[in-house]
Symmetry: C2
Subunit: 363 residues, 2 copies
């Protein structure tokens, strides 16, 4: 059973408005969350509302928060997120980067004191949508070990980028600097499966296949050992240090900490205006030719296709636009529990959303 | 047996001048190569001269090449490397980035038509030496497979960064986007050892432990699968496409191709002037505190230290400054063969270098 993207978006807007987020900010956040769902990245889609709404209601995040420029130069800006939703701060910051890049060719914008930004790739894709190369990254409370550590040192500190490709879908990568997302460890544990020894390190700091240890007694392994740890440290620097924001354990957990407290997340964005630096059409044609070249490379035995980053996500999104999104059971459960918690009786919710999320449909 | 850094540097300068590189450019290149050796990164040190000198002599690289700004804006520049040594082009480009960043806060500089840049971390460290965050990356002839491909698609496309830390050594990461450097595959094969199944993919595109297949019948695996492939593609874009330079197979092999042909390597540099964007002393203090925090994290069972990126390299360099560099046998062999090939009889070489590299010392 599928839900239309616009219905899901309206659902998000209503939920967010219920806890005091104003319409334009609710719409921004709804677009970010439903885009992640449409890409099939359900860990970073509307499911996040289950953690976001209680924190907005309790005041830890500022439902009425207004991100503002703190200080700025010819090719950079530092934005204070005013503890608003990370999607609101992130879109403000990426749009600021794009505006500066239109004059300067490129821009760095750091965002401090914000909420959890969700899918970093969403912000990168905004830049690509206007012909720019976009890069987005964010820090978070530690969950990832360093090589040789037994405890978590850095957050899963994602890095995402998007490259415009003319008429084609942008190239789009969104990766954690951890070996694997924490959500995958949970999922394997819920299915009662052991996990590969490369995913987490146990209480002794050694690899373990027992997913039940995470997160209380285990940390995620860094992606590719010292390389992922090193990239995570660059994210921590550009998002947390250069902005004068919080780093490591001074960042709160958006899910587990007292919802009355801010989380002090931070993020960093780069925008590069292709048309300022290179002949735009030639660049687009060469990106397209590179994609073709990758597609046409001889395939490994048994492999059907070679994908460029983001290709699967854009295909899923096209399908979602045409057919609606088939939300997985864990997401539907979360959204149902939100409707119940908020004790909503809005008629639109009853007609469209509750209908979709109700037990009548055997969800 | 150790050689003094300055003696090794003089050796490099003389070798480079012998093939027509002028003094200042020879000194720049010598500094880059000996710094890599002092860091213990011998795969990217003076050993490279064995491939560089024949190409300079044959004219594929332009010994008299002068990198020049092709086009430029308020926060960016595209430099044509004039097929000079990659170290010469890379230092020119990074210094241009630093000069622009001093005004604009940050800068991107793309470098096209250059030689092989060697250790990308060298250029990043130049920026850190002047209080800037430096990022350096470069493309190369394909040697790395994509997920699902059986052939190479991208070069090992390194990414390096350096973060200044006040009085401390900069944080410094220099990583290939391949799972492992090709040199490590050779070394294991020379020792007759099987390699881990994560390093290369064989002629069928599947993992193999037979290192003898590389490079003729195997490609390097991308680091962490689609993540390393995705980062390599970002490097290809910023170094090769945004500069209007060559990509993938249009880049030549500096080691195997006809030395009379240019290689058309490309690179990209970012410089971020910390003091423009953040209070400099506070930033330095917070980087130092973050390093301390990482060091003090509880260690895994059996682990003695937790290193921040670059820490091992700076310690090796300090030792090399005090005691000289203990070049490994393969590097000594390469340097001996260079002296022989060039038929040099310079008295300084005889006195200092040939003495070091001669058989009398049982090397």
């Amino acid at each position: 059973m599928h839900i239309k993207i616009n219905d899901l978006k309206r659902f998000c807007v209503i939920m967010l408005e219920t806890v005091g987020v104003k319409g334009i900010d609710a719409a921004t956040t709804a677009d970010a969350l439903t885009t992640a769902d449409a890409w099939g990245i359900f860990t970073h889609g509307t499911k996040l509302l289950a953690g976001y709404l209680p924190r907005l209601r309790a005041g830890g995040w500022n439902a009425k928060g207004k991100p503002r420029v703190d200080r700025e130069g010819p090719a950079w800006s530092i934005v204070d997120g005013d503890h608003a939703l990370g999607q609101v701060g992130g879109v403000f910051a990426m749009r600021r980067a794009m505006a500066i890049a239109r004059n300067s060719g490129l821009a760095y914008v750091g965002l401090k004191n914000t909420g959890h930004i969700g899918a970093a790739g969403y912000f990168a894709s905004l830049a690509a949508g206007e012909g720019m190369i976009g890069v987005a990254m964010g820090n978070d409370i530690p969950s990832v070990a360093a090589p040789n550590s037994r405890g978590a040192v850095l957050g899963s500190n994602p890095i995402a980028y998007a490259i415009p490709a003319g008429e084609r879908d942008p190239i789009l990568l969104d990766m954690a600097t951890a070996a694997v997302a924490g959500g995958k460890v949970y999922a394997a544990w819920q299915r009662g499966e052991p996990i590969p020894p490369t995913w987490i390190v146990g209480p002794d700091g050694k690899p373990t296949t027992d997913g039940s240890l995470y997160p209380a007694h285990a940390s995620l392994a860094p992606m590719a050992g010292h390389k992922g740890f090193g990239l995570g440290l660059l994210v921590e620097t550009l998002a947390g240090l250069l902005t004068c924001g919080a780093v490591t354990w001074r960042v709160g957990s958006w899910l587990f900490d007292d919802p009355a407290l801010p989380t002090r997340h931070n993020a960093a964005f780069l925008a590069i205006d292709v048309a300022t630096i290179a002949p735009h059409d030639e660049f687009s044609a060469r990106v397209a030719a590179l994609i073709d070249e990758i597609h046409e490379t001889p395939k490994a035995e048994g492999a059907e296709r070679i994908f460029v980053p983001g290709e699967m996500e854009w295909e899923r999104r096209r399908k979602a636009i045409a057919e609606g999104i088939d939300l997985p059971p864990d997401v539907r459960d979360k959204l149902k529990s939100i409707v119940k918690d908020l004790q909503l009786s809005d008629s639109w919710i009853n007609e469209i959303v509750v209908d979709y999320f109700s037990n009548r449909n055997q969800l």
